[in-house]
Amino acid sequence: MTPEEEKKILATSPIGTWVILAIYSVLFTLGWLGMYALFLSHGPVH
């Protein structure tokens, strides 16, 4: 890898990370809402 290529990589936004975090955020929110929908209506666990 040339120094120019390395510089270019270091200067580029980590797009893969942004995409992973975006997917995670969606799953996080859906999972959160899903757990509430599934379990909260049952009330406290006995």
Partner: protein
């Protein structure tokens, strides 16, 4: 066998190894002793976990024994949550102090011996069944005085370490005006400061509430006050455990992966936010306790949600650093960098697995922060599943890979087996998932935590029938974790006495893409955050504690006798 200055000088003369200074040799030795105690605690504590999973299942009537179960649970918790963590943080902290700012501690061995004596004092009643209080300090349960004295000494020993870290930090800043404190030192000192603040709660509880009663000086205890003081410690202690794991992710993982840290400033911001938001939020452990009003619980709930911010920031910065490393290694496309990383490097593998466990554990943590959810799963196995995933998973796996990184540098010997380390980490990860996934489910279908045997629930067969399969799966996970733990200790032990010298013993931390030349004072000093913590603590714990002095308690002993 740590490297002495003379040994290192002789090695340097005959090879390309760098010599270490006398201060670094001191830090190596101190670090090694502390961390051996930490991992001895891990080796002793893990099999107890397996015993508990088996005893509780009801599949092995021959081993069912309630007294032994609770003694084992208490010892397992103390060994892994208090001894492993405290000695690991102190050991790596002292090593960091020596290698990043070249400072020798004032109280290094005092800290070590006081903490060790405390650990032994606490261990005796634990192992003999006189301190089966589930490694918490929640009255009205009481343990033998030796347990409380020992635990207090462990905390006091760690305060010497806190003082050493702060002194070294301040000294270095004075000697290097205007320069950024090395990131690793900044992070460790923030961790030490956090521990200083958070341990005050349980220390106050022990000295002013528990010890007067167990020594017979006071007739009774103010349970509400004692539990409030314990909550002061109970959540932030988790961040004291977790922050060294994050340090490993920030300052070692990017370099081991072949890249650079995405942002030095992000790392500092994450740590000051972790510091400020993790202590004054302990009331989420008291959601169902009656002695605090709903408004204070609401304040603490909002604070608890705020902890997600530095956690997300950490996830982003570490993942971005890994992406940079993968691209520098030739990875192309949106996700090609993942495959380009060297997953046979224990540090890269451990870091990746830790992040995976953090995604699920962090999600569970945000769920738990909400009053509504917490009330639902309170005192169920969901909680134990959650904290095992975050602590036993994300945190401890980073301790393991940090040890694989540190041991060759400290001892001068090559890692005994890199392949064994990789297998061990995979087994640990799979074991932790197999253990904790059914644990969460058990909580949701109604199994209470802190039960010694499900046979006690024979009167409720509709519940007990549902639990069986999950109990069986958990035992498989626990076996995997115990085997993995012994593989780790074996590899470390063999490294310690390995005749093959390490190829690289130089301690180098990851550098950021843009190394800061100057930093705003708030990202390079402790004073502002210390005052901010004082203000936040007064706001969130001031009235809730002071109220007890004005209550008509039943033989209340607010502060001493």
């Amino acid at each position: 066998m740590s490297i002495t200055a003379e040994h290192a000088a002789s090695l340097a003369a005959t090879s390309s190894r760098p010599a270490v200074t006398a201060v670094q040799a001191y830090g190596n030795k101190l670090g090694l002793w502390n961390m051996w105690v930490a991992f001895a605690a891990l080796a002793l504590g893990l099999p107890m976990g397996l015993f508990q999973a088996a005893e509780r299942s009801g599949f092995f009537p021959g081993i069912e024994n309630t007294a032994v179960y609770f003694a084992s649970t208490s010892t397992h918790g103390v060994l892994l949550a208090f001894v492993l963590t405290t000695f690991f943080a102190m050991g790596w902290g002292y090593h960091t102090m020596a290698h990043s700012v070249n400072k020798k501690p004032f109280f290094g061995w005092t800290s070590f011996w006081v903490s060790l004596v405390g650990t032994v004092m606490a261990a005796i009643p634990l192992l003999t069944g006189y301190a089966s209080v589930l490694y918490t300090f929640y009255p009205p349960e009481f343990a033998h005085p030796s347990f409380y004295l020992g635990a207090t000494l462990l905390v006091v020993g760690s305060w010497f370490w806190v003082a050493d870290m702060i002194i070294a930090f301040v000294q270095w800043k004075k000697e290097n005006p205007g320069k950024p404190v090395p990131l690793v030192m900044f992070m460790f000192t923030m961790t030490a400061l956090l521990w200083g603040w958070t341990s005050l709660g349980v220390a106050s509880e022990a000295v002013f509430q528990l010890l007067p009663v167990v020594f017979g000086i006071a007739p009774t205890i103010d349970v509400g006050l004692a539990r409030t003081l314990f909550s002061w410690t109970l959540h932030a202690i988790v961040y004291f455990w977790l922050m060294p794991a994050y340090i490993a992710m920030y300052v070692i993982l990017p370099k081991e992966a072949g890249g650079k840290l995405f942002s030095d400033e992000f790392a500092r911001i994450a740590f000051v936010l972790l510091f400020i938001f993790s202590v004054p939020i302990g009331f989420h452990h008291l959601y169902v306790d009656p002695q605090q009003a709903a408004g204070w619980k609401l304040l603490h709930m909002f604070g608890t949600f705020m902890v997600a911010v530095p956690t997300f920031l950490t996830g982003f910065t570490v993942l971005a650093s890994m992406e940079i490393a993968g691209r520098l290694r030739g990875g192309k496309g949106l996700f090609g960098w993942i495959g380009a990383l060297d997953w046979n490097n224990p540090f890269v593998l451990g870091g990746g697995l830790a992040l995976l466990m953090l995604t699920v554990g962090g999600w569970g943590g945000v769920l738990n922060a909400a009053y509504t959810w917490d009330v639902m799963v309170h005192n169920t196995q969901w909680i134990t599943g959650h904290f095992h995933l975050i602590f036993g998973g994300t945190t401890v796996i980073m301790y393991l890979v940090a040890a694989y990184w540190l041991w060759p540098k400290i001892t001068g010997n090559a890692l005994f087996s890199r392949a064994l380390a990789v297998w061990q980490l995979w087994l640990y990860f799979i074991g932790m998932v197999v253990l904790t996934a059914p644990w969460h489910v058990l909580g949701l279908i109604g199994q209470p935590r802190r039960v010694s045997t499900t046979d006690q629930y024979a009167a409720f067969p509709e519940y007990a029938q549902m639990w069986g399969i999950y109990e069986a799966i958990m035992i498989v996970g626990a076996v995997m974790l115990v085997v993995s733990g012994f593989m780790f200790v074996y590899n470390l032990f063999m490294t310690h006495f390995n005749k093959v010298p390490a190829a690289d013993t130089k301690v180098e931390y990851a550098v950021a893409i843009h190394e800061p030349m100057r930093l705003p004072n708030v990202l390079n000093s402790l004073a502002f955050w210390n005052w901010a913590m004082l203000a936040y603590m007064i706001l969130s714990y001031g009235y809730p504690i002071v109220q007890f002095f004005f209550m008509e308690g039943h033989h209340t002993i607010p502060w001493g006798v």
